[in-house]
Amino acid sequence: MTDLAHEGDVTAEDHHDEHESLGMDARKLGMWVFLSSEFLFFGALMTNYLLYSNRPGLADPYPGTIYDIPFTSVSSFVLLMSSLTMVLAHAALERDDQHQTRTWLFATAALGSIFLGGQVFEFYEFITHDGMTLTTSPVASAFYVLTGFHGLHVAIGILMLLSLWGIGHSQGALSDKRGFNVELVGLYWHFVDIIWIVIFTVVYLLSTS
């Protein structure tokens, strides 16, 4: 078989007979490689925040003084649980339970949207109630850009989840052999979740006191 590699059919099994490889799906390898570079992306943003968060003499309010910890704890919990629904969607697909796959995908997108809504509400409160905007101080800029880029990642994830859900509906079945699939979106989604795990601890819980 002399088939050419392409996203759609670059599955390890097609090529083991004539390729040296790491023995895994190329798309999955690509996603992991990409995610490993995302550490540097969010790391720079967090460095930025940590550099300024305790620097004396910046304009008030410091984000650490206005966090609503109970509220953020709840939204962090919601995002954490969306990782559960994501992994349930993938497990359902492995059982070829298409209906449950779609349900859990939709649930994941819904939980993600709740988290994102919470973030919008938080920003709104900070701006109108506490008077902290992007232009208040370097630490305020750092807070908004860090959490904002995380929110953007969540939004892109929701878009991909809903696309999968839509494809599942219109084509009747999802498959992990397709170029755009549940497992890859799942990896991305969990990664966005672990970044939030770190942000919640380092940015919210640790810099408040």
């Binding site: 099994e13 023995g23 390898l29 720079a44 750092a142 850009v145 497992e183």
Partner: protein
């Protein structure tokens, strides 16, 4: 399924009739190039675009040199001068050397590892279009940008001379003018209130997307798509250096992305990151920039090192001396490249501990670099050297890179560095490594692999004229800069006083620059005439060693008629040569027949070969990026917001089309049995530790229940 008559046996994936999306139908002509997913066509487009920007950056350099040839020159206004040196640097780095390397990687990587294409052909096309749009976006500053100066010093941009003489090519001052490094707060909103800088910030961001996508693509290609028997330690050195480069890109681009975003927010949305009056710390910019910027230096030079490591053995008719040492040294350079960034910041007042630590780490880089130089010389030593143009450029690379490397070591000694910082000595140093290094290496590669692309030889006579003109011009241009710098000529200076006595050497430098320009003109003529009238190359014009030369020239669209099986390093050489009793290489009697067979078989595949289907969507998706950039710059206006919306729509529609584009129907119809026997495949893996885990892998080896 349609089988074209010109290319027997090649099956283009037919556009499925069921989809609502229009699919590209032709792989020929203009639309064939626009919608292509063929790594060779993409590589060629990268090459031509990079060369175009090389000319642009070169013209910018010539304008700078005309200006600096005389003391107190009025040829350029200060604003135009600032913009020209900034864009010269940004162009040569981001729009010439990086894409030129990408051109070689695209064209050669799959061929060198025995693959038919890269892992993700459409992502590859996306990289190329994003690069092109990023370049166009940066240069759109010439038409849409404004190069305003801070309030109160407007005449700096116009002309420092009394009265502000009009002219002086002042229209160029609308381009980004903060240096390629865009130091803050100089490139921040207070000191560069025009929009010029934004074009650089957002343009480099788009180019970064292109490179990041390409990095993921090439890494996966190298790890997962090598031909059977092409173990990691049998890969050509160029592939190894490519791999190191792609990892450097993968890990350094996110850092610069953040730095660029921060500056963009500062300039456009009033964020305070680098605003010292509000407590911001401009030194953070330098840390983030050079965390990216120093690996970037190796990103520029490692591919050229790889090319030279391919050229030297072929023209010395000897194997590369110390193959694994060269590879190890390349990986070490890549790794250490992340640990030396603060040597760009010795003059910013970092702590003595930091100065000592980064001085030492910078010196250690000389070790793996020295290993490479030693190995290249060892390759040539006692070799039967053939002084063809590729070898001349490769030797030029080694010699010039040694000079640049040694002047680099002088920067690692901090007191010495303080004297050199921001003088022409630094300019001399990095041109010796980036021009004397990267560009000589790239030209060695161009002369060596031109037959691969065209099936013809580049003219040898003109090639040698090109080399000697460039070699003399290069040293006349950048050699004297060492002394200019040590005499105190400040880098980026717009004017110098005649009393400084710097003028004679500056005239010499300018003459050298024009000799380089002449050599490039010779090269362009050589290329243009050789493409039509060059001598036909045959399959193996250089008596080469690596597997990309086992296919006919120019490369057939499917690369390999049958995928090769590799049995050792320099596989092709060993198929042609054996050794006699005294260990000397002797050509096998059957070698000529084998090459004739390769030529015939390579053009006449015995089986059907599926090629990646062309696609509109990479272009569509990439085209949204510059619109978002323009929209951010004019976000205060309604039509600026409209452009953001347009950009997002283009990206989303491109993405949706991409996700829904059917790719595998033909494949599934043809090979329904594949999925049944896939569990029986044995996984061949590199490390012994991997073997045990291979069967446990939870990847997609599960068969899909197809009814």
């Amino acid at each position: 399924m349609t089988t074209t008559t010109e290319r027997p046996g090649v099956v283009e994936e037919a556009p499925p009739t069921t989809t609502i999306y229009r699919r590209p139908k032709s792989t020929e002509g203009f639309w064939g190039w626009v919608t292509t997913t063929d790594h060779k066509k993409i590589g060629i487009m990268y090459g031509y675009a990079a060369f175009f920007f090389f000319i642009v950056g070169g013209v910018e350099a010539l304008l700078l040199r005309i200006h600096l040839a005389s003391a107190n020159s009025e040829f350029l206004t200060a604003g135009a001068y600032n913009a020209l040196f900034s864009m010269h640097g940004a162009t040569m780095i981001f729009l010439f050397v990086m894409p030129a390397s990408a051109a070689f990687v695209n064209y050669l990587l799959p061929l060198m590892i025995g693959a038919r294409d890269v892992a993700f052909p459409r992502l590859n096309a996306l990289s190329w279009w994003a690069f092109l749009f990023g370049g166009i976006f940066m240069y759109s500053a010439l038409f849409f940008g404004t190069g305003l100066a801070p309030t109160g010093v407007e005449n700096v941009v116009g002309n420092l001379a009394e009265g502000g003489r009009p002219g002086g090519l002042n229209f160029l001052a609308d381009m980004p003018d903060g240096g390629w490094f865009l130091y803050q707060p100089n490139a921040g909103p207070d000191f560069s209130p025009g929009t010029g800088i934004d074009f650089a910030l957002l343009g480099i961001q788009i180019l970064g997307v292109a490179s990041l996508v390409a990095a993921v693509n090439f890494i996966v290609t190298i790890f997962n798509f090598r031909a059977k028997g092409m173990r990691l330690l049998r890969m050509p050195v160029f592939v190894w250096m490519t791999m190191v480069t792609q990892f450097l890109l993968l890990f350094s681009l996110p850092i610069i992305a953040i730095a660029l975003f921060m500056a963009t927010f500062d300039r456009n949305f009033g964020a305070m990151f680098f605003d010292a009056t509000g407590g911001g710390d401009p030194i953070l910019w330098q840390h983030l920039f050079w965390l990216f910027g120093h690996p970037e230096v190796y990103i520029l030079v490692l591919p050229a090192m790889g090319m030279v490591s391919e050229v030297l053995p072929v023209f010395s008719r000897k194997p590369l001396f110390g193959y694994s040492a060269v590879i190890f040294a390349g990986a070490a350079i890549g790794f250490l490249g992340f640990g030396v960034w603060a040597h760009h910041m010795f003059a910013t007042g970092i702590s003595p501990v930091a100065q000592a630590a980064f001085g030492l780490s910078t010196m250690t880089i000389a070790i793996p670099t020295g290993i490479k130089i030693f190995n290249w010389m060892g390759t040539m030593w006692m070799g039967k050297l053939r002084f063809s143009t590729p070898l001349l450029f490769a030797i030029g690379f080694v010699a010039m890179f040694v000079i640049g490397g040694l002047s680099g070591v002088t920067h690692s000694i901090v007191p010495s560095d303080w004297q050199q910082t921001d003088t022409y000595y630094i300019v001399a140093h990095f041109h010796y490594v980036l021009f004397g290094g990267s560009v000589f290496g790239l030209f060695a590669g161009i002369y060596y692999w031109f037959p691969k692309i065209s099936g013809r030889m580049l003219g040898e006579g003109l090639g040698k004229v090109h080399f000697w003109l460039m070699f003399i011009g290069f040293n006349l241009t950048f050699g004297p800069m060492h002394w200019l710098g040590l005499q105190g000529m400040v880098r980026r200076t717009w004017k110098y006083d005649p009393a400084t006595g710097l003028e004679p050497w500056n005239i010499a430098v300018t003459v050298g620059a024009f000799i380089i320009a002449l050599s490039i003109a010779v090269f362009i003529y050589n290329w243009w005439s050789s493409r039509r009238r060059g001598a036909p190359s045959g399959l193996d014009p250089w008596d080469a060693r690596t597997v990309e030369w086992t296919v006919p020239n120019p490369t057939p669209v499917y690369n390999f008629a049958t995928t090769p099986v590799i049995t050792r390093l320099d596989d092709f050489w060993h198929r042609k040569y054996t050794t006699d009793d005294e260990g000397r290489a002797v050509r096998r009697p059957e070698a000529d027949q084998m090459i004739a067979d390769l030529e015939y078989d390579g053009r006449n595949p015995k089986t059907e070969i599926h090629l990646p289907a062309p696609s509109y969507f990479p272009l569509l998706l990439a085209s949204g990026m510059p619109f978002i950039g323009w929209g951010i710059i004019w976000h205060t206006t309604t039509w600026g917001l409209g452009m953001v919306v347009l950009g997002v729509l283009l990206i989303v529609s491109g993405g949706i089309g991409w996700a829904l584009e059917p790719l595998e129907e033909a494949h599934e119809e043809d090979h329904p049995h594949d999925e049944a026997d896939e569990d029986e495949e044995t996984h061949e893996t590199e490390g012994a530790s991997d073997v045990g885990r291979a069967s446990e892998s939870a990847d997609t080896t599960e068969p899909v229940e197809t009814s």
